[in-house]
């Protein structure tokens, strides 16, 4: 067995496992409760799960369309392709498609239902701001997302939360309106309240999961390039720049946040509990740790 310097962080793994476990328990309980309480919800569940499935299945097309990004060929972007070619050879993974979005917002994202259908997209803003080492760090972070199958994991993690959210928003309107008898209405009110609770908890848990997966991707990316500091420098550059970008442009990209390299929202109200990405200090701290591990003699 060969020595390795590239280790996963047991603490991070444990936290991620715990969050995943809690989500599974929550969803199983919620699902069982819905089946028990009301058969008509089953139809809603099928629709919502179907929507989530479509969201996962077409995630690459939807992400590219919402960012107005275009797939580029090796002839159109030889440096970018060359960089990704080498990174995927180093990581032994299939090469994703490469896209560029024409916006000044400095960011990057990965989407696609599986590593074979993945797409990695960078914006012209990030290409303009980062030097090649930093850009490579960002690309390796996105490739780590692809390798970790983050789109699939996050879709599954948020699917039933979507259902709870759907009932929370529209449940009273549909369910309450239809059941004329008192018992039915009361039963539905309970379902509605449970859904609110499930929605709130699943929201917090999926956000926590998203943050852990960002840290994982930072780690995987840093190991791939062997240059955690380049990724750290890219992070500071981008988050510093983010705050100076006009707000309107940023809000337009808000729904894409969970897939982004660094989140595009600012403001004090955006608390760490519901953030899709860990605070920059935490990410830098982890990268510094990785850098120290790489530098230490074995």
């Amino acid at each position: 067995m060969a020595h390795t310097r590239f280790r996963s962080d047991p603490g991070l793994t444990a936290r991620m496992g715990l969050v995943g476990f809690l989500l599974a328990v929550l969803y199983l309980g919620f699902g069982a409760y819905l089946v028990y309480a009301s058969g008509s919800i089953a139809l809603g569940a099928i629709i919502v799960v179907g929507l989530a499935f479509a969201q996962w299945y077409f995630s690459d097309k939807m992400a590219l369309a919402s960012m107005r990004a275009n797939i580029v060929t090796p002839e159109q972007a030889p440096e970018l392709h060359g960089m990704i070619d080498r990174l995927v050879a180093l990581a032994d993974m299939p090469k994703p498609r490469v896209a560029i979005a024409d916006t000044d917002l400095p960011n990057a994202f990965a989407a696609g239902r599986s590593p074979d259908h993945a797409v990695v997209c960078v914006t012209t803003g990030i290409l303009r701001r980062l030097d090649s080492d930093e850009l490579e760090g960002v690309l390796s972070h996105e490739l780590a997302h692809v390798a970790n199958r983050d789109v699939a994991v996050m879709t599954v993690a948020s699917a039933l939360g979507l259902l709870a959210g759907f009932i929370t928003r529209w449940g009273l309107y549909f369910g309450g309106g239809r059941s004329r008898d008192r018992n039915g209405a009361a039963a539905f009110l309970v379902i509605w309240l449970v859904s609110i609770l499930v929605y709130a908890i699943s929201f917090l848990l999926t956000r926590a999961l998203s943050r852990y997966r960002e840290l994982s991707a930072d780690r995987g990316g840093a190991y791939l390039t062997g240059k955690p500091s380049a990724l750290a420098s890219a992070l500071t550059k981008i988050t510093g720049d983010m705050a100076r970008i006009p707000t309107r442009d940023l809000r337009a990209a808000e729904s894409m946040n969970a897939f982004f390299f660094a989140p595009a929202i600012r403001g004090a109200s955006f608390s760490t509990l519901i953030a899709t990405h860990p605070p920059i200090e935490k990410r830098l701290e982890q990268l510094a740790k990785v850098s120290a591990e790489l530098g230490r003699p074995l």
Binding site: M16, G20, G226
Partner: protein
Amino acid sequence: MTFLDALLGRSKPVQANLDALFAIPQAALTLQAGGGFTPTGVGAVCYRANEGAAFATLQGDVQQLLDADGGPAVERSEDSYGFTWLLCRQDPDDLSALVTELHTVNRTLEDNGFGPSLLCSQVGFVGPDGRTLGVVYLYKRGSFYPFAPLADERRDNALELQVRGLVAGDLPIEKEMGRWLALWGAPGLT
């Protein structure tokens, strides 16, 4: 990657497969007999230099070790993608000496925990008409592919396919041609 690894976000760097490199001398005989290609005696290992003191020390040690045999000194260079190449030269007739030297680089990196940082290595050949051909080994795949650069970043695909046919019996050839990485400006291949 296992299901559990995906679930817990633990992507592990892929370890390199080192031993297949020793099949090259046999393939060289086939290349010579079937296509008139002769080894140039030049080969190079391409890896990712990690940041930090551990890697810098290691890199110095490898170079010292390889230069200790009294032959031509190994040359280190960095390409435009931030990857490092160690170029080794040996007598063109003694291909196994060259392969052993390349293997020393691999072994040292792996012993020090940097096996996942190995990208590829190439051994140079020259055709009867003077065309350049590199036989490239992909560490992570454990497979080989031919790379024949032409001027202006073009590849001689016909030659590459011809060579693939020639050495298919001696070397495990990379089946997915999308992974036949273009190595423009690779040392020893110009």
